[in-house]
Symmetry: C2
Subunit: 184 residues, 2 copies
DNA sequence: GTCTATAATTTGATAGAC
DNA sequence: GTCTATCAAATTATAGAC
């Protein structure tokens, strides 16, 4: 069944969100779902390939989560991104994989790093386009940085409240930008 | 000589900033400075103890870097923090150790996580006290999150410019807060 | 798809000589 | 402080039977 492959990916993803690329081994996964590590290799030849598949799936899901809504305001867009990141914490048990791999990028497979960079490039471009206004690209970078950092604070404090605190002014700030534009 | 211990710490710190807690082994370090791994254990009994010593040293240095200046404005304080974080990238070769360990906290020694949490608690308190104004604590969280996330973006893009872009509006925003207060 | 068996390497760590 | 020698465990991965 392809179901086993998905369970393996789910499990590996969760472990990595908690502890990074080295946060799981094939033996770990195998033990938890009741098979042997050799069987994991049947579904994913190497660990690198497995992680790349996980990242691919994750980035597709992320794109769906922040898909544009008709009539959205810039504040709506920022809220959609904020909610998507927050879900990492509350439903996936930890960090954004792209942020995590960006942080520990030094020892990771190059193909993985390509995916990570690509994620940030397209997320920044998408955000910038949808919030618009002056310096949209700079503000998009700031928003992505704030969200990644807010996840770190929440992990360090062991409390989602830290994420909420760090991002409390996010939507309000974007409303300010709007007001400023309208006023000008 | 205590000199060897320091060289080991320097090397290990750099590797961890690039690739996280699992970014070096005692053998790596030993090979690079021309001794054997058993000799590294003479200076640091275990890896966990070594990393804790590195964190201790790092957090002391950080406190010095952002030490209060007489007559500082809130914008000055934020700039001092921004510069301290930026130095991680330009002089230390990578992430802030606290941010990195917060991100991959799942598989780390508990004593290390205690230090990480403590760092963020005291940094937020210090920042909040020195920038003052309404919601100082919330803004302090946002500033720390932005700085950590900006490091991630720079690592992911492989370019310090991403850090600068993400933090471009930081000091300006703090000036806004001041203006707002004065105007009120 | 899963198993047994096993290889090759790496890792954190220790004992004891010099 | 450094070395040789060594350990036990873990990790990624492969070959081939069922």
């Amino acid at each position: 069944m392809r179901r086993t492959a998905e369970r393996l990916m789910d499990l590996a993803e969760r472990r990595m969100r908690e502890a990074g690329y080295h946060g799981f081994s094939f033996r770990d996964l195998a033990a938890e779902i009741g098979i042997k590590s050799a069987s994991v290799h049947h579904h994913f030849p190497t660990k690198a390939e497995m992680v790349i598949a996980i990242m691919h799936r994750h980035n597709e899901r992320f794109a769906e989560l922040v898909t544009p809504k008709v009539g959205e305001t810039p504040a709506d867009v920022v809220q959609a991104y904020r909610n998507a990141f927050r879900r990492s914490l509350t439903e996936k048990g930890g960090m954004c994989l792209n942020g995590l791999f960006g942080a520990e990028s030094g020892g990771l497979p190059p193909e993985l790093l390509t995916q990570v960079e690509q994620f940030f490039v397209s997320a920044a471009a998408d955000l910038a386009k949808r919030i618009g206004g002056p310096d949209a690209e700079t503000r998009a970078f700031a928003i992505l940085a704030l969200l990644e950092g807010a996840l770190i604070l929440a992990r360090a404090h062991g409390d989602v409240a830290a994420f909420d605190k760090a991002t409390a002014d996010l939507a309000a700030a974007e409303d300010d930008e709007r007001t400023r534009k309208v006023a000008a």
